[in-house]
């Protein structure tokens, strides 16, 4: 039977991918970031994760505004690495699990009534590719099977935080009805505070970032009614990505065990990481 073991929230700043590929992990500006992922990666290996459902957003790698989905679920066995304008990163194609993904699709659409766009072809964006190799081995091949789940946070109208919360709950239902013994982590990526356009370019808000990291852990339902405008006012217009974390948190038990947290605020955005253990699964283990 499918088990939801943990949830992870992570930022996905593209330059982290560049720094990773250039082996900058020990450089002074980057070390506080990369060191933060080490305990997370070790713990995920320890608890035997087999599958990662990654909620992320595309940034113009695969989806365009001709036809823009609110929620797009990948159902392939393999996903190519995207070229975001400067060539594809040297990573092996992301390894999927079509059978598991179609099961999730059936449960989400028929049981939980989510109006998914179902993708048999889907190209991976830094929204997923930045955190994935920080959390799992990828050489010689990925140590985890990934289900990509793309969320629109670019073109308004955006899904509400409440809808993302419900999505998380539906993902749990879907995972738990899977007949095979998969051990699943749900990852939500995006944020934290940042704004990338306008006079307000460079806006950051570490107070809000830290409050968010507390609330996503202890009191996540207090976040589900915050309107889009308030996410933008507090964190910056592009920080609506933070809502995606609610899709992760909604999948977990109300109370969670905090395994690890990291926060770093260089340059242009708050970079956060949180690792939360599901208490139902940990109690059963």
């Amino acid at each position: 039977m499918g088990r939801l073991v943990a949830g992870i929230g992570s930022s996905h700043v593209p330059s982290v991918g560049v720094a990773f590929d250039q082996n900058q992990q020990e450089a002074p500006g980057w070390k506080p970031l990369f060191d933060g992922y080490k305990p997370a990666k070790a713990w995920l290996k320890d608890v035997g994760i087999t599958h990662a459902i990654v909620l992320y957003n595309d940034h113009g790698t695969d989806f365009f505004f001709d036809k823009y989905p609110t929620f797009a679920l990948g159902v392939a066995d393999e996903y190519p690495i995207g070229d975001e304008g400067w060539g594809a990163r040297p990573l092996p194609a992301v390894k999927g699990d079509a059978v598991f993904s179609w099961h999730l699709a059936n449960s989400l659409v028929v049981e939980s009534e989510f109006d998914l766009t179902i993708c048999q072809e889907m190209v991976m964006d830094h929204g997923l590719l930045v955190p994935l190799p920080l959390l799992f081995d990828h050489e010689p091949d990925w140590s985890v099977r990934t289900v990509p789940f793309q969320v629109n946070v670019l073109q308004h109208p955006l899904p509400t935080p409440h809808r993302l919360w419900k999505l998380g709950q539906a993902l749990r239902t879907a995972v738990e009805s899977y007949p095979d013994d998969v051990r699943v982590v749900v990852v939500g990526t995006g944020g934290l505070s940042h704004q990338l356009h306008g006079d307000r370019f460079g806006h950051m808000n570490s107070d809000w970032d830290k409050e968010f990291l507390d609330r996503i852990e202890d009191d996540p339902e207090s976040l589900v009614d915050i309107p889009h405008d308030e996410w933008m006012e507090r964190g910056g217009a592009e920080a609506v990505e933070m809502m995606v974390w609610l899709g992760m948190r909604g999948a977990l038990t109300p109370k969670v065990n905090k395994i690890h947290r990291n926060y770093y605020l260089p340059m242009l955005s708050g970079m956060g990481l949180t690792v939360l253990e599901d208490t139902l699964t940990s109690a059963a283990a």
Binding site: S15, W30, D66, G85, Q155, R200, M267
Partner: protein
């Protein structure tokens, strides 16, 4: 307000990427999106005007792209920052010069406002 209309513009210095803006900038953003393919970047380099004409860009849009006037492209042209970043990636302009231009600052002035000035960010 934006809950009803999706067209909120009350946050200073912020252009929310609404449906209205997406409609206005559809050709511009389509051009920028196309640059995720290496062969398209090469085609642009060979003939910028011809390439942009192929996406139906107006004279104003072509001029602002060539002038690297990101501020005008976003505030007046319906440009989406994530799409425009692909133009910058091609022309060698990272997020920092793109952002500094929008703030009306030099890169040096902007870097002074940062606590950890990482070379590449975002």
């Amino acid at each position: 307000m934006s809950r009803e209309t999706g067209h909120s513009d009350h946050i200073p210095g912020t252009c929310v990427f609404t449906g209205q803006r997406s409609q206005q900038g559809l050709k511009l953003n389509s051009f920028a999106f196309s640059l995720h393919k290496a062969e398209n970047r090469e085609a642009y380099r060979q003939d910028p005007d011809g390439y942009m004409d192929g996406y139906g860009l107006s004279a104003w849009e072509k001029q602002k792209v060539k002038e690297k006037d990101w501020k005008a492209l976003i505030e007046e042209g319906g440009g989406n920052i994530y799409m425009l970043l692909k133009v910058g990636a091609m022309t060698g302009d990272g997020l920092v010069p793109i952002g500094a231009q929008q703030r009306g600052e030099s890169v040096e002035e902007f870097m002074k406002t940062r606590n950890v000035p990482l070379r590449q960010n975002m």
